[in-house]
């Protein structure tokens, strides 16, 4: 420990070993992983995110949604992510291959969002507009749909403006204390629309060899959905 160059070299070797072990070696595997063909969807998985949803990913990053939301589903035996209905299967490296940025998150002040695009009556083709309306209202003020929520409100992703002629088709349906003053309406900005497109694109449900989707004999997912605030599409009461 008394020779300066040797100490320097020793530290450098120590630091370089971890770089090689946890970054270089894994990147040989993950960096070259191909997309896989899924018979189920007839497409390669994962597909590129559509443009609008990709713009939404940037809003998600910029607003720091990942300070409160994770995007990973742990396997059976590592917490209750599956039992909570946060996914049909665990998430694996393959799911994130085309994501950029990859925002796994390390804290869950809110629920996991890996599969938020599937929640609320997925499969029902009429569900899409209901889900969009739900997410927009939720973003404008979470307590409109989730009383007591601690998620921040994002009114700046919306525009409150005087109604010109007839009300805009995209105006939020807000009630009670959340409604804008008489003669005004609240419409989403392009950022809010993109963010919702991103949320709906969050789906890690394709069956993979290393993470097969188990057949759905139980109604685990359904009971679990109620453990978060998302109302099923069949009951779009709020």
């Amino acid at each position: 420990m008394n020779s300066t160059p040797l100490l320097f070299l020793g530290i450098l070797i120590a630091l370089a070993s971890s770089w090689w072990g946890v970054l270089v070696a894994p990147s040989l595997q993950i960096g070259n992983a191909p997309t896989v063909f899924s018979k189920e969807t007839g497409q390669h998985y994962p597909a590129n995110r559509p443009g609008l949803a990709q713009q939404g990913a940037e809003i998600y990053r910029s607003e720091g949604c990942n300070s409160c939301h994770s995007q990973l589903v742990r396997p059976e035996g590592f917490g209750n992510d599956l039992a909570r209905g946060w996914g049909k299967r665990r998430t694996v490296a393959q799911d994130y291959l085309r994501d950029n940025p990859v925002l796994l998150g390390s804290v869950r002040i809110g629920p996991d969002l890996s599969n938020i695009g599937y929640r609320m009556g997925a499969g029902d083709t009429n569900a899409q507009p209901v889900m969009v309306a739900y997410h927009l209202k939720h973003l404008y003020h979470p307590r409109t749909v989730a009383p007591g929520s601690v998620m921040p409100a994002y009114p700046y992703l919306f525009e409150k403006r005087p109604i010109q002629g007839s009300p805009s088709a995209s105006a939020l349906k807000l009630e009670g204390a959340f409604a804008p003053p008489e003669g005004f309406e609240v419409v989403p900005t392009p950022e809010a629309t993109a963010l919702v497109a991103y949320l709906l694109s969050l789906r890690s449900g394709v069956s993979l060899a290393e993470a097969p989707v188990p057949p759905p004999p139980t109604n685990a997912v359904e009971t679990a959905t109620s453990s978060t605030n998302a109302a099923p599409a069949s009951a779009p009461t709020r």
Partner: protein, 486 residues
């Protein structure tokens, strides 16, 4: 371990006195601590605002830059880079210079690095608040700001290594090793991460691995290294007895440097299985370091624990030592599947961060900072204010970290019942989160006290300077007038 060859020592005439070593820090200490004190207040304030918003989510929601997802990372980064890193550099260099019995070399490099560092922190903070965060934990600052930090750390670090190479003391001390490790670490992890993210950037979960490698590396080696160095220096110093074992310190040093940076994965991560195993094995190996450190400190302090309550500095160093070991122990527990399944993603995450950064690093640095200021500038901080600051910091950090760890445990226990709704588990822990907001208030108050005390030092320095100038200028003007008249 490594070679025991003694460097050629300079002749005794070149050996500076301790007072000369201290005096060589005057401008560095003033510059770094003043900036650090400012950032600490700013960071704690942003974090307090963020935590209040958790209880009142619609408050001030109209302004994008005040949203939780921007405030919380910005506040934390300010704490880490603006305060802990910055004050850590100054304290680290001071420990290094004292252990080497050498004046700080190339102090211009250090000051230039200091300016650049603050430019980087400012630009990075503005970037995050304006929505240009990268979204990667601890690496949120935009690449330009990060590059400033890496270059600045390079300048500061080289001055440290130059000082060490010019040492006049043949025996090197554990505190010096840990400082040297810390100085290299930031440059290494920062520059490699920046390089790996440049251009196309890594693919898929490799992005996460790079971020985790960086974040884990700088917390355990850069910040943790400074905390360890501080405690290795101050514990024997306060207790007035030698460190129990130099060889245990050696084992701790190399096992920390070799193994801690591997601990980048957790159970259930979406990575190939072997990568998870490698990371967890790294965590187990790294706990050798924590164990060796804990044994060493314990054996050093055993029998005179009372002395750790005697002065504000001693109390802070006691807290730092406990927090350092506790955070290492919790990290180890996280390597067990049961514990990880239970507590991962809960408030315990923030609790652990506070334990290490707030408890081990910030409290540890504050144990030494008053001493560095007094010795290098010749002006002591007001002892009353130092005592008040130490108490508020101690109470504040404990009130933040402990409730978060406990609250995380409660939240996790509730969540382990799959029928318990997510929000109910969150609500069950919110009163503890409120307690930690209170802790933040106490902590913030303490930092105002410190800033005020530091302001006092500046005022007396200016006053002293003015007196010097006057006594120096007066005879001159008298002589001149006298000369003209006669």
């Amino acid at each position: 371990m490594i070679s025991t060859a003694t460097p050629s020592l300079p002749k005794s005439a070149d050996i500076p006195s301790l007072a000369e070593v201290d005096a060589s820090f005057r401008s560095v200490a003033l510059f770094f601590f003043a900036k650090a004190a400012f950032w600490l207040i700013a960071g704690a304030f942003l974090l307090l605002l963020a935590s209040i918003k958790l209880h009142a989510p619609a408050m001030m929601s109209g302004a994008a830059w005040l949203t939780y997802g921007r405030l919380a990372p910005a506040g934390w980064d300010i704490l880490v880079y603006g305060f802990a890193g910055q004050a850590g550099f100054a304290v680290g260099l001071w420990l290094l210079a004292r252990a080497s019995m050498q004046r700080l070399q190339s102090s211009l490099l250090v000051l230039a690095g200091g300016v650049l560092w603050n430019v980087g922190v400012l630009a990075g903070t503005i970037g995050i608040l304006a929505g240009y965060s990268t979204g990667r934990e601890l690496l949120e600052m935009p690449a330009g700001a990060m590059a400033c930090l890496v270059v600045a750390a390079g300048l500061i670090g080289s001055a440290g290594w130059i000082t060490f190479a010019a040492r006049t003391e043949s025996q090197t001390y554990p505190s010096a090793w840990f400082v040297l490790l810390s100085l290299i670490s930031f440059v290494w992890f920062g520059s490699v991460a920046l390089m790996m993210y440049s251009g196309e950037g890594p693919r898929g979960v490799m992005q996460v691995l790079v971020q985790r490698w960086y974040a884990n590396g700088i917390t355990s080696l850069w910040l943790g290294g400074i905390a360890a160095a501080t405690i290795f220096h101050f514990l024997p110093h306060t207790l007035n007895r030698p460190l129990a074992s130099r060889s245990l310190a050696l084992i701790a040093f190399w096992s920390l440097a070799f193994f801690a940076p591997w601990a980048v994965t957790a159970h259930g991560d979406p990575f190939p299985r072997w990568i998870i195993s490698v990371g967890i094995a790294g965590q187990f190996m790294a706990s050798i370091a924590i164990l060796a450190i804990a044994m060493n400190w314990w054996k050093t302090a055993e029998g005179s624990l009372n002395a750790l309550l005697a002065s504000p500095g001693a109390r802070l160093i006691g807290l730092a030592a406990v927090a350092y070991v506790a955070s290492g122990a919790l990290d180890l527990l996280m390597a067990f599947q049961r514990f990880s399944s239970w507590t991962r993603f809960s408030w315990m995450h923030q609790g652990l961060d506070w334990l290490l950064v707030g408890g081990a690093v910030i409290a540890g640095l504050f144990a030494i900072i008053p001493d560095v200021i007094a010795r290098s500038t010749g002006q002591a901080l007001s002892p009353g204010l130092v005592r008040l600051h130490a108490t508020l910091t101690l109470v504040g950090v404990s009130l933040i970290a402990v409730p978060l760890v406990v609250g995380g445990g409660i939240q996790g226990a509730r969540l382990s019942d799959p029928t318990m709704p997510f929000m109910d588990a969150l609500r069950a822990s919110m009163h503890l989160v409120r307690l930690s907001s209170l802790g933040l208030v106490v902590f913030l108050l303490g930092q105002f006290v410190f800033a005020f005390a530091l302001f006092g030092v500046f005022r007396s320095l200016v006053a002293a300077c003015a007196t010097t100038v006057r006594t120096w200028a007066d005879p001159v003007s008298k002589n001149r007038t006298a000369g003209v008249r006669s």
